[in-house]
Amino acid sequence: MDLEPLFLSLQVATLATLIATIVGVAIGALLATRSFPGRDLLDVLLTAPMVLPPTVLGYYVLVALGRRSAIGQAFEAITGTSIVFTRTGAVVAATLGALPLVVKSARAAIEAVDPILIVAARTLGATPLRAFFTILLPLASRGILAGVMLGFARALGDFGVTLMVAGDIPGETQTASLAIYDAIQARRDGDAAGMIAVLTAFAVVTLYAVGKLGERRRAA
C-alpha cells in the first residue's frame, strides 16, 4: 500500500482542523453569546458547506481564491505560490468541510453553559476574555472536542471540494480519498483496500469516541 496519500491526508486534515477549531470556536462563541445584525445569515453561510454540492462549493472557492481573484493574487505576491491546485488549496477545502461541524458543536456547547456562571466570573473581577478562557471554554470543552473530532474525520475524508480546488496531483494534492478513486478507476482494487480499511476504521473509532464524550457530558 502506498502510504503517501494517507500521510498527506493526515497532514492536510490536521492543519485544516487546527484552523477550523480556532476560527470555529470563535465564531461559535460569537453566535452563542452575542446578538448582532446578520447573525442568522452568518449561521446559514457557515452551515451551507454541509448541504451544498461539493462542485458548487468548489466553484465558489475557485472564484474567491483562484489566481485571478484579489485574495489569490495577494497570496501569490506574498508567498510565491498560488492557493488553488496546491496543498494550500487542499487545506482550504478540508477546512471548509470541518468548519460547520466545529461551529455547530461549539455553539451548542457554549449555549449549554449557564450564563449566570459567566456573570459570576465577571463580578469576581474576571475580564470578558478571562471569563471565556477559564469558565466558558472548560465547561464547553467536551462538546467542542466532539465537534473537533467530527471535523477532523470530515476533513480527512474530503473528496469533491479537494478535487475542484486542489486537483488530483500525486505527491502534492492527492489525498487518500482521491487516491482511492484513482485506484478503483485503474482497477487497482488492492491498492485501494488498505486505505479504505484505514479510513473506515478511523471513522468508526471517531464516532464511537464522540458518542462516549456525549454520554459523559450528559452524566456530568
Binding site: 449557564d114 449566570i116 456562571l117 456573570v119 459570576a120 466570573a121 465577571r122 463580578t123 469576581l124 473581577g125 474576571a126 475580564t127 470578558p128 477559564t134 469558565i135 472548560p138 465547561l139 456530568a220
Partner: protein, 236 residues
C-alpha cells in the same frame, strides 16, 4: 466633591412601552441594608443594576463618591472593575473547580499564588467549609454550597456585598450562626452589604436598616423593627 459615604443609587429601568420595571432611589451606608418585598417587586433587578449586569435607562449608581454608572454624562464602569461580591440565589459556583479554586477565583491576580491560596483557605475556614476545599460543587449539599459561595464573596476584599437570599437552603441553627458571621464580617470590612430576603427573622437579625420594595419602587426605608414588626411589613 463632598459625598455621602456608602452606596447611592437612583435609577430607572424601562419596561417595554411606557412605565418602569424599576424606579428606585436608595442609599446604603456601610452595614447591612435589607431589601425586603414580595417576588417581582424589583429587588433582584436592583441588585443587577448595582453590579452592572443590567444597564439602567436613566439615573446613576455611585459608591463612596465613585460613579459606576451615569446616564448623563454617559459613564458605565465594567462589571469586573466594580469589585462587587455578589452571592446569587443559584450560588453560581463554578462546577469544574474545587471549592478552594472557586474561592481563589475572586482574589486579585496581583496577589502571589501562595498568598491567594492561604487567603482562600482562611475564608473557607471562616465559613466552616474547609473540609470542602478539595471537592467540587456537584458533591455539596445546599447549605455547603451556600457556605462556599459566601466564602468566595468575602475572600475578594469587596467594596460592596450583594446577597440574594443566600441562606435559604440552610437549617435554622446554621443560618443563625452564618447570619451573625456575615454581620461581623460586614462590620469589619466597613462596606455596604445589601441583603435580599423574604424572611422577617433574618431581616431583623441582620439588618441595620430595611428598604421595603413593591412594584419596582421603594415603599419605605427605615429601622427593621419599626417597619417589619410595628407596621406589620410583608412576607413571612
Amino acid at each position: 466633591m463632598p459625598h455621602e459615604p456608602g452606596l447611592d443609587v437612583d435609577v430607572r429601568v424601562a419596561r417595554g412601552r411606557g412605565g418602569f420595571s424599576l424606579d428606585a432611589k436608595i442609599d446604603a451606608p456601610p452595614g447591612v441594608t435589607i431589601l425586603f418585598g414580595p417576588s417581582g417587586s424589583g429587588k433582584s433587578t436592583l441588585l443587577a443594576v448595582i453590579a452592572g449586569l443590567v444597564r439602567p435607562d436613566t439615573g446613576h449608581v455611585r459608591l463612596e463618591g465613585t460613579t459606576w454608572f451615569s446616564s448623563s454624562p454617559r459613564l458605565d464602569v465594567a462589571i469586573h472593575e466594580r469589585r462587587v461580591a455578589f452571592v446569587f440565589q443559584s450560588l453560581a459556583l463554578f462546577p469544574h473547580l474545587t471549592a478552594q479554586a472557586n474561592v481563589e477565583y475572586g482574589i486579585e491576580r496581583s496577589v502571589p499564588p501562595l498568598e491567594r491560596a492561604a487567603r482562600a483557605r482562611a475564608s473557607l475556614v471562616r465559613f466552616h467549609a474547609e473540609h470542602l476545599a478539595a471537592r467540587r460543587p456537584a458533591t455539596f449539599s445546599g447549605g455547603e454550597g451556600q457556605r462556599v459561595a459566601l466564602a468566595r464573596a468575602f475572600a475578594m476584599n469587596p467594596r460592596l456585598v450583594l446577597l440574594d437570599e443566600p441562606f435559604s437552603a440552610m437549617d435554622r441553627s446554621l443560618r443563625g450562626e452564618l447570619v451573625e458571621l456575615v454581620r461581623t464580617l460586614a462590620e469589619g470590612l466597613r462596606v455596604p452589604v445589601i441583603h435580599v430576603t423574604h424572611r422577617r427573622g433574618e431581616a431583623l437579625a441582620l439588618g441595620d436598616r430595611v428598604i421595603l420594595m413593591r412594584d419596582g419602587r421603594v415603599e419605605a426605608t427605615g429601622d427593621p423593627r419599626e417597619l417589619l414588626i410595628e407596621r406589620g411589613g410583608v412576607g413571612r
